[in-house]
Symmetry: C2
Subunit: 186 residues, 2 copies
């Protein structure tokens, strides 16, 4: 076969996740995340996370790659987190490679199960198809991880925006604590 | 949908590539690589590389992951290298994330084009479908990288064993040097 693409190399700082050449950057601020936190997501212009993506075709033969840089912070007692999503093509899987910081990976199925996995330098998380995934920064430095997923997976943010995850991760007296999400709707 | 798999986390040493829990390990010794080097691949029991794989189903929805630890060394003036392969499903792509050491990624198409990319801590190489790929350790320490590829890609080693890559990477007077592979057959 004639290859569809030519090989290329991007340079990644393994501690900060920054990529060179700088790829597509998506920023999420608190104002983009209203309704996801239990408390008021203010101020609206507060940066929460950036996703730096290496663009390749959205095909089943390809691997989409990105690094996520999630700032430390709290909304009330709830740690800064990503929006979280299912894949639009539900059975597509993904991996995370933790690079820096101290985090949790929260996962949930459509039938209401959930799991919490560690996310820090050296963790390789396997996120199987059918599990919505959200990363949470429970530390005081940026949480940085590299993600790779099947190229046609796509993103379904709406389902999570509508129902939430079954639990929240909040700052408790002895550290990160998992509490029931009172707004969760199965 | 009901998820096919449960999430899991493997711990990776980001400098040595070692995984915990220890996954499936494949070892290649010089005796496994006869005919691939220009010179005599001796001694047969000399370890060349190990591939530590995280087992997941070989499905198009999944991401196969592994780390490769390629020892430093020479066969004559030719650097230690992996066998190299096309994917059995030709259009499936792969990524490498360099973790340690100093290497080169050699790529070739079926119609005889080739490319050489850097491979060291922090490189993210995109290996598109249709490109055979071989890693080469041009340094004096182990070359370590993490690989992720579409789950049903499979391996076709036979095509490369039969034809070779168009070039070889050898130790020259001023460092790694690319020379024509006299045994290459298109």
């Amino acid at each position: 076969m004639q290859p569809r693409l030519d090989p290329f190399t991007v340079f990644m700082d393994l501690r900060t996740g920054l990529l060179d050449p700088l790829p597509v950057v998506a920023e999420r601020r608190l104002g983009d995340m209203r309704g996801l936190y239990a408390g008021e997501a203010e101020p609206a212009d507060q940066l929460v996370y950036r996703v730096l993506s290496i663009p390749v075709p959205e095909l089943n033969s390809e691997i989409q790659c990105s690094t996520t840089i999630l700032e430390p912070g709290l909304v009330g007692d709830e740690y800064f987190m990503t929006k979280g999503h299912f894949h639009a093509v539900r059975d597509r899987s993904e991996i995370y490679i933790g690079l820096a910081g101290e985090g949790r990976l929260l996962l949930a199925t459509e039938d209401g199960r959930h799991r919490l996995e560690p996310l820090r330098a050296g963790t390789v998380n396997y996120i199987p198809g059918g599990w919505a995934h959200r990363s949470i920064n429970v530390g005081s430095d940026p949480l940085v991880f590299f993600a790779a997923y099947v190229g046609d997976a796509g993103h379904d943010y709406e389902t999570i925006e509508g129902r939430g995850f079954p639990v929240r991760v909040v700052r408790g007296e002895t550290g990160p604590t998992v509490v029931i999400n009172q707004r969760y709707r199965r």
